[in-house]
């Protein structure tokens, strides 16, 4: 029983991190209709911003570890959203009217550039992420250990998702985003500046990825320049599972993928961990391609 509870807690904390990354995929897909393959690498950059800035910030702030943790996260979010907007301006914007395939390959190119650039600048070897979340066991019984970092990950992710929900559904900017995702041209005719909405979407998506990176690195403290690939792919699967373009779907999908993965690791074999997510993806695409919460879009001739 305790082991089951342990797996569930671990699964939810991993799942809420996937959900944060998945939200970025789903929003960008909703607006631009393409998969931003570089999203996982923006996540990686976020972790490295945390790695390099955390010692300085904690020295600057002094004793309060919670305050410095929040500052590190905000800094990573700021830098990653700048990075996201830059990628969009230089790589994706000139290709907006071109075939999907061209954009997809450009995204792969950007992703490779960030990965190998990261290996060049940060070095290819794994690094130990500094503790920015006070690490202690909140619950510690015989075979149930709930670490504070899991709790912090779950709570922070929940707060960020509530903020995102507020932005998308209760502000003017969010209304504009939803309008653009329905129809670019019609939105432009209503006086919405498409370019600034797209940039804003990239800011939101990338900063969520950065926050996810800080949380992820606090739970799994070994970071390296290729760390973004698999969380990125799995978050994408989560977005598809929940129904791509749907914000609630991304959150739900992230939780499902996180839970399944922890259960497979815990009860079957850790080596099948990566295969199971792809298996889920193939099953969902075969039987319900629009995802759990997605709408079916009929193909137009």
């Amino acid at each position: 029983m305790n082991q089951l509870l342990q797996q569930i807690i671990n699964g939810i904390s991993l799942g809420s991190i996937y959900a944060l990354i998945a939200l970025g995929y789903t929003m960008i897909y909703g607006i631009l209709r393409f998969i931003n393959f570089a999203h996982g690498d923006v996540f990686m950059i976020g972790a490295f911003v945390g790695f390099y800035s955390a010692p300085h910030i904690s020295k600057l702030v002094g004793g309060s570890i919670i305050f410095s943790g929040i500052l590190v996260m905000l800094l990573a979010m700021l830098i990653c959203s700048l990075l996201g907007v830059t990628i969009e301006k230089f790589a994706y914007k000139p290709l907006r009217s071109r075939p999907k395939l061209t954009v997809l390959i450009t995204a792969i190119g950007v992703s490779l550039f960030l990965e190998y650039g990261g290996q060049l600048i940060f070095g290819p070897d794994p690094k130990l992420f500094p503790t920015i979340v006070p690490s202690m066991a909140v619950v510690d019984t015989q075979n149930l250990v709930i670490g504070s970092n899991s709790i912090v990950a779950i709570v922070t992710a929940a707060i960020l998702m509530l903020i995102l929900r507020f932005i998308v559904f209760n502000t003017k900017m969010g209304a504009a985003m939803r309008a653009v995702s329905y129809n670019h041209q019609a939105a432009a005719l209503m006086g919405i500046n498409i370019n600034s909405i797209i940039s804003f979407t990239f800011v939101l998506g990338s900063s969520l990825a950065a926050a996810a990176a800080i949380l992820y690195s606090s739970v799994y403290p070994s970071i390296n320049p290729l760390m973004g690939i698999f969380p990125g792919l799995k978050a994408f699967i989560a977005a598809v599972l929940g129904g791509i373009g749907n914000i609630y779907g991304a959150a739900l999908g992230g939780l499902i993928i996180g839970l399944t993965e922890t259960f497979v690791t815990g009860y079957l074999s850790p080596t099948y961990r990566d295969a199971i997510s792809f298996g889920i993806l193939i099953l969902i695409l075969l039987f319900k391609p629009s995802g759990i919460m997605g709408k079916f879009e009929a193909e137009k001739v």
Binding site: P94, R96, L101, I108, F113, E115, Q119, V240, L286
Partner: protein, 317 residues
């Protein structure tokens, strides 16, 4: 007379491969290795070109087919204890390559079936997933060496095998494209709905493209395994698939000659950049993005336009 021309070319290139085989010992081992890699990449890129370029199904799982072929042929030749150079090694190697192709095309069939319902980005990510699943399964099979890799494969591939198979592949592709099947592929690629409206069995064509492409990817895997003599699952990760896709895209989707040239160039490029080894993958990635940004048309032969870098795209208005 005209219809015999491709057959003549095939005969001629096979003879040429045989002649070059005689001089094989005079080539320095390093250049020889690069030449064989070029050959293997040409096979991979040309076979992916059938799926991506002609049938228009964006596949990111080619390394998975390659892995299936590599392991199949390695298991067959190892269980037969073939020694390189013996007379029995040639038919045995041919047999193992054909088996490699068949197993890979079975996987192609498995991937082809979901592709009936999916397109574009979804298909890309599904095929990527299939490739990864094949890799993870191999990683967990102990008789294939699991993550340690499969060692002690006889070195049976040489210039003749690799380039002989290229000749046959190009011959087949050329004839396929100029047959009714080829026209069917192009119709499916250009407009699926219109194609099915004029009575083309879209499903069949898509599956055929996957099976044919995977068959040769499997053979390329077999050739690769018998050239490097050691394979492990991490050699067939999705970065490998990306590399092959990049070759096809740079060469021009659906352009037979262009894909061959770009496979050769993109194999040489990392080798040429070896002196600045730590920058080479960064330069490679950057080149990829720049090529994509500058390309004017959809296919090779599409003009490059420097102005595109600062020109506003029409969608912005």
């Amino acid at each position: 007379m005209k219809c015999h021309l491709p057959k003549l070319y095939l005969l001629l290139s096979l003879i040429l491969c045989g002649i070059i085989l005689i001089f094989e010992k005079n080539i320095s081992p390093y250049y020889y290795q690069v030449i064989v890699y070029i050959g293997i990449n040409i096979i991979l890129a040309s076979s992916l070109n059938i799926i991506n370029g002609f049938a228009g199904q964006f596949s990111l799982g080619h390394a998975g087919f390659m892995a299936a072929g590599a392991y199949t042929s390695a298991v067959i030749t190892s269980s037969m204890h073939i020694s390189p150079g013996s007379l029995a090694s040639y038919p045995a190697f041919l047999f193992s390559l054909i088996c490699a192709g068949i197993i890979a095309s079975l996987f192609g069939l498995m991937v082809g079936i979901p592709s009936l319902r999916l397109k574009g980005d979804y298909l890309a990510i599904t095929t990527l997933g299939f490739g990864e699943i094949i890799r993870v399964i191999i990683q967990n099979l102990d008789f294939l060496g699991a993550a340690r890799g499969f060692t002690g494969i006889a070195k049976l591939s040489d210039f003749f095998w690799v380039f002989g198979i290229i000749s046959i592949l190009i011959f087949l592709v050329y004839n396929l494209i100029n047959s009714t099947y080829g026209k069917g592929f192009l119709a499916v690629r250009d407009d699926e709905i219109a194609a099915s409206a004029v009575g083309i069995d879209v499903t069949r064509y898509k599956v055929i493209a996957f099976v044919f492409g995977a068959f040769f990817a499997g053979i390329a895997g077999g050739l690769y395994a018998h050239f490097v003599t050691y394979i492990n699952p991490s050699q067939f990760g999705f970065l490998r698939s990306f590399e092959i896709v990049v070759m096809v895209v740079v060469g021009g989707m659906g352009n037979i000659i262009g894909v061959i040239i770009s496979a050769a160039i993109l194999t040489i490029l990392p080798e040429a950049l070896r002196s600045i080894a730590q920058y080479r993958m960064v330069i490679y990635a950057l080149l990829l993005v720049i090529i994509m940004l500058l390309r004017e048309g959809e296919f090779l032969g599409g003009r490059f336009n420097i102005k595109r870098l600062w020109k506003k795209s029409p969608a912005e208005t």
